[in-house]
Amino acid sequence: MQRGVTPRRRYALVFAGLFLAAVTSVLLLVPRREPALVAIPAQWRGPTDFLLQTPGNDLLRSVPQLAAPIPDYAQKGR
């Protein structure tokens, strides 16, 4: 004699089916990055690298700019 599927078991099967469908759609929808063939160390950033950007660092790399050109008073006096 064959036993029928109990309601509890049916719910479990439906639940498992829904879960599998949800996981599959998440996996299909989330864009996946192509795995890099080689780990490129140049892309790796050390956790303390930001400490090499010291305060006032940009001041050393630039020259102060004057907003407007300096008028040539010597020319104007003539």
Partner: protein, 136 residues
């Protein structure tokens, strides 16, 4: 049934972990650069005593950074010269790299010390405000 539900919850809980973005600076997030503090000093309600202390700390650290930057530049040039040779003397380059990296370590250490002292000068409310400002 219980096992099934449990395994589903574990799978769902594990999803955000894989979505974590790389490339963030979790250490830097705990500290505040002096420029950020100075730019928002009124908003933070910095006391005159705090302002003076912050200024003094930055002024003390700046000549050290300048000195170290010149040294790093000098030692880096030497390393570049060694790398231009054919064939490259690996032992010499690695020895020179050790000098450059030791200087970089000093810069990082001095900078970290400065940032820690600056954070210690702030009140918990000012720290919270700075965190909000940074998140904007």
């Amino acid at each position: 049934m219980k096992k099934l539900v449990l395994s589903i919850w574990i799978s769902i809980a594990a999803l955000p972990m894989s979505a974590q973005q790389p490339g963030e600076d979790p250490i830097a997030q705990q500290l505040f650069p002096p420029d950020l503090i100075m730019a928002h000093q009124d908003e933070l309600g910095l006391q005159e005593k705090q302002r003076a202390a912050i200024k003094s700390e930055v002024l003390k650290a700046q000549p050290k950074f300048l000195e170290a930057q010149w040294e790093v530049g000098d030692e880096s040039q030497k390393m570049i010269a060694l790398l231009r040779a054919t064939p490259i003397d690996e032992a010499k380059v690695l020895e020179q790299a050790d000098r450059v990296m030791a200087l970089e370590r000093d810069v990082k250490r001095t900078h970290l010390g400065l940032l820690i002292r600056l954070k210690n000068l702030l009140t918990p409310e000012q720290i919270k405000r700075l965190e909000q400002i940074r998140r904007k």
